[in-house]
């Protein structure tokens, strides 16, 4: 296994503030990043967002996920308990060179966004058959 290549095959969170495209409070979605087979999986909690509400951008090694969430309910309602806010979810990531960025795909289901980030051919672990002489 080539450790140098393997270490590039990763996705890291970044604290860089993404550009806001509209007003309102934004929230950082909780994510899992995991390696499974020949791909990395990014799962992000984006409750209230549907496929049409989600924008994913990849530019020069930076991946940005943005999910628009419309306000729910009357803004002047009488609160009994208020433990969380509702707004857009935005988070950015640095994508290692071991990821084939052209083949990133995504789906959303039950408020969970899943991104598939396939490893580049060069970053995949291969089993090498040793032939006898």
């Amino acid at each position: 296994m080539n450790h140098e290549t393997q270490s590039e095959c990763k996705l890291t969170t970044t604290s860089a503030e993404p550009e806001r495209t509209r007003g309102g409070r934004t929230y950082v979605p909780a994510v899992d990043i995991l390696e499974q087979g020949d791909e990395l999986l990014l799962r992000a909690d984006v409750p209230g967002a549907r496929a049409d509400d989600i924008d994913i951008q990849y530019e020069r090694g930076t991946l940005t996920i943005a999910a628009r969430v419309a306000p729910r309910g009357d803004p002047h309602r009488t609160w009994v308990l208020r433990e969380y806010g509702v707004g857009d979810f935005v988070r950015t990531f640095q994508v290692g060179e071991g990821i084939d960025a052209q083949k990133i795909s995504a789906e959303v289901r039950d408020g969970v966004l899943t991104l598939h980030l396939p490893k580049a051919e060069s970053a995949r672990t291969r089993k090498i058959t040793v032939r006898g002489g």
């Binding site: 499974q36 308990l81 969970v112």
Partner: protein, 143 residues
């Protein structure tokens, strides 16, 4: 496992809640954090009913159980990990496991008329106010 008792109705807390309510008028984005309890809840009054809302992304109807008795609301369930055994985590922020939340509501609820819906990871429970107080199990329906 979380078990959180909310709203002990002491006069001091009543006053504090009233202050919070007034402050919320001016500072609409002020929250009382759930203190790690899952799921976080928003509850509001809507005329003759209360509405409770929780963000439960990834949960299916079968993962949730909602119980109402008198003025007590209980939401319990389990969030399963969606990944294979061969998965290697680089980062893990999304919790898994069993959860229970108890909430004491400011009024008695008509348990027979409670309706819950789950859409895009948002659970909404409509709780009509009532004088009655009897235990019932509520079926979560999808829309």
């Amino acid at each position: 496992m979380f078990a959180l008792q909310r709203f002990p109705f002491t006069p001091a807390l009543e006053l504090r809640r009233e202050m919070d309510r007034l402050l919320n008028t001016f500072l609409p984005e002020m929250f009382e954090p759930a203190g790690g309890a899952y799921p976080a809840l928003n509850v509001w009054e809507d005329g003759e009913r209360l509405v409770a809302e929780a963000e439960v992304p990834g949960l299916a109807l079968s993962d949730l159980e909602i119980l109402v008795r008198g003025n007590e609301l209980t939401i319990q369930g389990a969030r399963k990990g969606a990944n294979g055994e061969d998965a290697v985590y680089h980062r893990r922020e999304r919790g898994t496991g069993e959860f229970v939340r108890h909430l004491t509501l400011p009024t008695e609820i008509d348990a027979d008329k409670v309706e819950a819906t789950l859409k895009d990871g948002v659970l909404t429970i409509v709780l009509p106010k009532s004088e009655q107080a009897r235990a019932r199990r509520i079926t979560v329906k999808s829309n």
